[in-house]
Point group: C2
Chain length 216, copies 2
């Protein structure tokens, strides 16, 4: 057997990130134990691990629930994401190896194709790969891991907004600017372009949520 904890935590992670378990959902150990056909022990460890990734919140004696950050908190997280991505982009520009450039251009093209066919899901995937490539392209694996982790944590709050086709095209334009700056080896430009690209997402998120009443 390959470890029940791994399976449980990965399954829950996916469901949280995909919105199947929305923010604020209570995660009760007995229920999860029965669902996965195991005892509470591995469930508890899986929840601890998710708490580590920042996806759930463990309150003392009050159970576990899917993290439900305030709007302000989410905006803060997007700001940090923007800075991390900006650093990655700057480091990418410093290296700008032919392989890296080829990879970026490839994902950029896939983004274009998805945008043209108006497929938000395909665009979402290509967009994600594009960003991951920039993380890895920084040449700093620790930085890449941190960026990837925060990207994951923000996924539940970002998925919605790419539905709008207008946003898809604008995002594409921004990507092009980033790649152009990296190609030119202009670290400053790449940094600024990437930071703005992410910050816009944060603002969009604020606009998006402003439509709804505050959630508990």
């Amino acid at each position: 057997m390959t470890g029940a904890v791994d399976e449980i935590s990965e399954t829950l992670e996916t469901e949280i990130v995909e919105g199947i378990l929305p923010p604020g959902t209570r995660l009760e150990e007995p229920a999860l134990a029965e669902r996965f056909g195991v005892s509470r022990t591995p469930v508890r460890e899986a929840l601890q691990r998710l708490s580590a990734s920042g996806l759930v919140e463990l309150k003392r004696r009050r159970g576990t629930q899917v993290l439900n950050p305030s709007i302000g908190r989410i905006v803060e997280m997007f700001e940090v994401m923007a800075e991390l991505e900006a650093v990655c982009a700057r480091l990418c520009a410093r290296r700008a190896s032919p392989e890296l450039l080829a990879t970026l251009r490839d994902w950029l093209k896939r983004c274009e194709q998805a945008a043209e066919s108006g497929d938000p899901s395909a665009y979402y995937d290509a967009n994600r790969s594009f960003h991951l490539a920039i993380y890895k392209g920084s040449g700093n694996s620790f930085l890449a891991e941190q960026a990837e982790l925060l990207h994951l944590r923000l996924t539940p709050f970002r998925r919605q907004q790419l539905r709008l086709p207008r946003r898809m095209r604008q995002s594409l334009t921004e990507h092009s600017a980033v790649v152009a700056a990296i190609e030119a080896g202009d670290g400053q430009a790449a940094e600024t372009a990437q930071r703005d690209h992410i910050l816009i997402q944060g603002e969009r998120f604020g606009d998006f949520l402003a439509q709804f009443s505050a959630r508990s």
Copy 2:
């Protein structure tokens, strides 16, 4: 009772950070359970939590040990720390509220005092407070938390180097430059000064470890 897990994880965290449990130390559950007078269950949860903070490493079926990153990995971590601190400094400069400036100047003075009396331990504490003030001063609490966490993770690898009094004085000079830039509201200068300040630590660490043979 205030939760055994909290006490165990905090105690172990302190001991790891202070070097009482050096990198690579094996942490065996039965031994820890006996030491803290509890069963293995809370010990396991404490280890999970430490793994979350990135202080220990959990290998499947092969136990837990204090994280023992390669030199290259540590340098990468210092690079990310440098970038996070640089962002904090830039945001500090953007705000530059009188209270913040007063706080920074206060800690700077305490650093000076510690340096003059040649007390590395006092300098270490004042230095830490100075940096924490910059994190908080960014106005982004999520950023501050992330920076604090990484600061903690790097502590086991940083404590040694401030013993050298020459490094203490140089560090002080760098702090002054950062504060001056923040006072002037010059975000770019603050960012650069703080980044260099941390990067030097990373380089120093490389030099430091180069003296020894490679650790397992």
